[in-house]
């Protein structure tokens, strides 16, 4: 069954939703039955602003394998990017 298990990450940044660019303060992350994807379970991320009542979101549904690869690529981009920009 779908569950209410959601990992919440407090985030700082912006996302482009249906209404255009918006500030986001939360990423809701859950591994569950997808809404759109035809996979049985997907890693779902909803970027939203709870401070604004979560009226809009940017949603992705990824296979578990691609989600793990994404985590790896995110860390790689941070490593190379921070080095390049001497952050």
């Amino acid at each position: 069954m779908c569950s209410y298990i959601v990992e919440k990450a407090a985030i700082v940044g912006s996302a482009k939703g249906q209404q255009g660019w918006m500030r986001v303060d939360t990423a809701n992350v859950y591994f569950d039955h997808p809404f759109h994807s035809t996979l049985d379970h997907t890693l779902n991320i909803d970027f939203t602003s709870e401070a604004d009542g979560a009226r809009d979101r940017v949603a992705v549904e990824l296979s578990a394998e691609s989600a793990r690869q994404l985590v790896d690529r995110i860390l790689a981009a941070l490593k190379t990017g921070e080095a390049a920009h001497m952050v």
Partner: protein
């Protein structure tokens, strides 16, 4: 044989606490008296599949309604609102029961009502139907499609929104119950389905359970990875036979 016409539309209904919300209502067109069916949508939300189920029921001669259980979190697209409701831990059982009551009252007030109303729910909606059959008067047939968390072994899962495990209300069931389950489902798993059946037997309730091999969760959902056409075809036949027996058609 030719296909009947139907009328399908989004309407306003009065739910829990008298709150006005939206519901999808479909029924056969033309004069007649029809049994009503309340459709309780699944956790992800009031989606297109749920609406198609309402139309399917109307096509088969029922006046069917699916209230949007998350209307209070709108406006917006139902999938966005569903995601918001999920992140907030879902909606309270008491509120769902209030919305279900309001939708049933709507059906019974219509001039096309034959006086009988059934309820069918999918996933968390199946669990809600189990609850409704125990807590709401006026349901003449209840169908639980793979409702998870009817059995709650981890009591820390109970809280203010979901205070009671539905299985603990089995002796209060007021409607005959049809249950459809995939044997590959993890929630409810076959052991939990067996335990639910034992509770129904012990309480002397009228029920039918059907379990399907080669099917897991949501095996009726055409378009989803879990769709199993043969099992779904048989399952729908069970649903319509059950509704015909208890609601007339």
């Amino acid at each position: 044989m030719s296909y009947r016409g139907i009328i399908a539309e989004t309407i306003k209904f009065r739910g829990d606490n008298g709150d006005e919300g939206e519901a999808y209502y479909a029924r056969p067109s033309g004069d007649g008296k029809y049994p009503g069916v309340l459709v309780i949508h699944h956790l992800p939300g009031w989606d297109e599949w749920s609406i198609e189920v309402v139309r399917r029921l109307a096509h088969h001669g029922y006046a069917a309604i699916s209230p949007h259980l998350y209307f209070r979190d709108g406006p917006g697209d139902p999938d966005d609102i569903g995601a918001k409701a999920r992140a907030a831990g879902g909606v309270a059982d008491a509120q769902v029961m209030g919305d279900a009551k309001g939708a049933i009252e709507f059906l019974k007030k219509q001039s096309n009502s034959n006086g009988k109303v059934g309820a069918i729910g999918f996933c968390s909606g199946g669990r809600h139907v189990y609850l409704a059959a125990a807590q709401i008067d006026g349901i003449d047939a209840a169908v639980d499609c793979w409702g998870g968390n009817v059995v709650v072994d981890d009591k820390s899962q109970l809280g203010s929104k979901r205070p009671v495990a539905p299985i603990d209300l089995t002796d209060k069931l007021k409607a005959p119950l049809l249950g459809l389950f995939g044997n590959d489902d993890k929630n409810p798993n076959p052991d939990q389905v067996n335990r639910t059946e034992e509770a129904l037997k012990k309480a002397g309730k009228t029920y039918e359970f059907h379990r399907y091999d080669g099917a897991g969760h949501a095996f009726f959902n055409w378009g989803g990875a879990g769709y199993r056409p043969e099992q779904a075809k048989d399952g729908w036949q069970k649903v319509f036979a059950f509704f015909k027996k208890y609601l007339g058609a």
